[in-house]
Symmetry: none
Subunit: 207 residues, 4 copies
């Protein structure tokens, strides 16, 4: 009836976020029951409500915190870098690294967008667009300064993001390639093409 000895508030909240993240990642938000979540945390379902307000709020919180951190860390990663080429390089390295490290958060940010109530949805989409605009801005700067040739700035940015984000779905830490190798390969593909023709100069063939 009284609480389990040793448990306490902040620890419990942290356990809820951790278990929630894992369960939403593996089962999906709708499929995750709060009873299951509570069981993983080691408390009763009703006790969750000492820490969260609603299930929806837990989802939003997980996503919002992640998006905020993503944006903050990106700023840190780009801080002090001026040259568009260097900034693009830094963006790619950051994005790949972060998405490998936080694949679960990243995944639910994409897959559970539709589970967000409209107000929360708008906020998250806004944050995501902020992130996308950072990349578009880099490309635009490069184009404006005459350094980059880009077929279509927006399409390229979406292409880059889709390609890089895909790393979440297949990268294994213990696999054939290291994080650094992957980053290098992706950088090369972004800059020179994913599949190049050998004996005909790429420039001549360009549309």
């Amino acid at each position: 009836m009284a609480r389990t000895v040793g448990s306490n508030g902040p620890k419990t909240m942290e356990a809820i976020r951790k278990a929630g993240l894992r369960l939403i990642y593996t089962q999906g938000y709708e499929a995750m029951s709060l009873r299951r979540l509570a069981a993983e945390v080691g408390i009763q379902a009703g006790s969750l409500y000492n820490h969260i307000t609603t299930k929806q709020d837990l989802l939003f919180d997980l996503i919002k915190v992640h998006m905020d951190e993503l944006l903050e860390r990106l700023d840190q990663a780009l801080d002090g870098i001026a040259d568009p080429e260097d900034r693009l390089q830094a963006f790619i390295a950051f994005h790949v690294g972060y998405h490998i490290a936080r694949k679960r958060e990243v995944f639910i940010c994409y897959s559970e967008l539709r589970s967000l109530e409209s107000k929360n949805y708008d906020i998250v989409v806004g944050l995501r667009q902020q992130y996308e605009r950072k990349l578009i801005g880099i490309l635009d700067d490069g184009v404006a300064s005459g350094r980059f040739t880009v077929a279509d700035t927006t399409v390229a940015a979406y292409g880059i993001l889709a390609m890089l984000t895909g790393v979440c779905t297949w990268f294994k830490p213990a696999g054939r390639l290291s994080k650094e190798e992957v980053t290098g390969i992706y950088t090369g593909m972004v800059r020179h093409g994913l599949v190049r023709t050998v004996d005909a100069p790429a420039v001549a063939e360009a549309t």
Copy 2:
């Protein structure tokens, strides 16, 4: 009490598949209730079971039929084309076109994989791998014949697929770019890079 005049079996089944596809796309499989689905079709919830066996089977059917058709159409698109460059070009054009035309089917094939029971999951993943291997095969052929330079065949294939598939999330038929323009841009990005540096020829910079 008996059936409404004019309704009939095959039409109802088609309506179920159509409404199911739309609802799963917009709400997700777990969030879609069969009552809602039935209401959209214009029948009672229980009547669905004259046409489907379970909710899970409806999902699997939608995905399976789509994957089968995807593979079949790809074969048609590549049929009679021998040169790796031409085959890659054809693959890209097919993939972009098909994914624009069937964005909902494509989306649920990715997003609802986790909602599939393990037996169904295995089947679908197997079909997906077949599709991926077609692309990897093209790349391998090109490399083997000395026509392609590819940093890493597998990573490149995953990169291409992620990049191209991303088209589903932003393409609007009435938007700025036509399907053909998008295909052209993507082809260029695959072959020469998404962001190239202007004054240094790509060839010279190639790894």
Copy 3:
């Protein structure tokens, strides 16, 4: 859409009664679904209604037909026998024989009484009482004529019926005892006790 070649009315009805009897015996009336019944017969559920009016009526019919036959056969078995002792003997032989041969009908007559709607229930209980009164009548005749000593006519009749009917639950045609042996044993137990004390004459001990 048209009917299966070779099927026809009376045969189908007979198949329904046969399958219904078996299913009600093994699963119980409530637990038997008409879809299952139809499947066993080899038709669709809706087609049952060309032969039965309702599920309840099928149950009632099965029970009623059996009770009528039970009474009719009993009359045949007792026909022409006047002496109470002989009549009791004939009753026991008939009851055991019939209950072994029709164990499923007998079982559902007891176990599904509560599934009968009140009007049907009353009818069946009336028929059952008719049967019980036949036995009570035999006992009463024997007592009236000074041939029988019975502690309590009604209790004895219920006791005999319960004991004899129990044969349904354990008798196996291929078992240790033949139908005739079982009848003999039961007759003995009715007349002389189920467990007698050896060295003290039963008569002396009688209450």
Copy 4:
């Protein structure tokens, strides 16, 4: 929205078992809906699941608890009695008394056997056989010590049990006969026959 003041766990569970027993007795397990059960208890259907795991488990629990108690009480009733005649007498008295007192539990133990899932079925049948073997053991002891004459030990035991258990179906506490009178009559019928012939000594007639 939360629970009604004054209600509490153990009381609710007891109310569920009581109402469940009554409803299964009157309607049968299949015919009893959990909504009806909940209504009788005064809670919502879903709230039942704070106390039971499944409907099947409630049935099994009711039966299992009864069988355990039946066996325990029988042991108490026979405790300290050595002579087979006395033990048989004690068994009859116990069985009749217990079955009159617990007619509903007894009834569902027989009638709802087929509603038990196979694992539960096996357990209950095992317990029932334990009970039957107690009686068979008494008869065997009596025969072994030369005190009893029994036509067939097993058939006699089944006959006794069927006959005595039948008391459940007709005994009325306010009826013509008291519990003690019924016990006396049954004992007499077991020992000396249900219907005896007056002028010919039973012993002489024995098979």
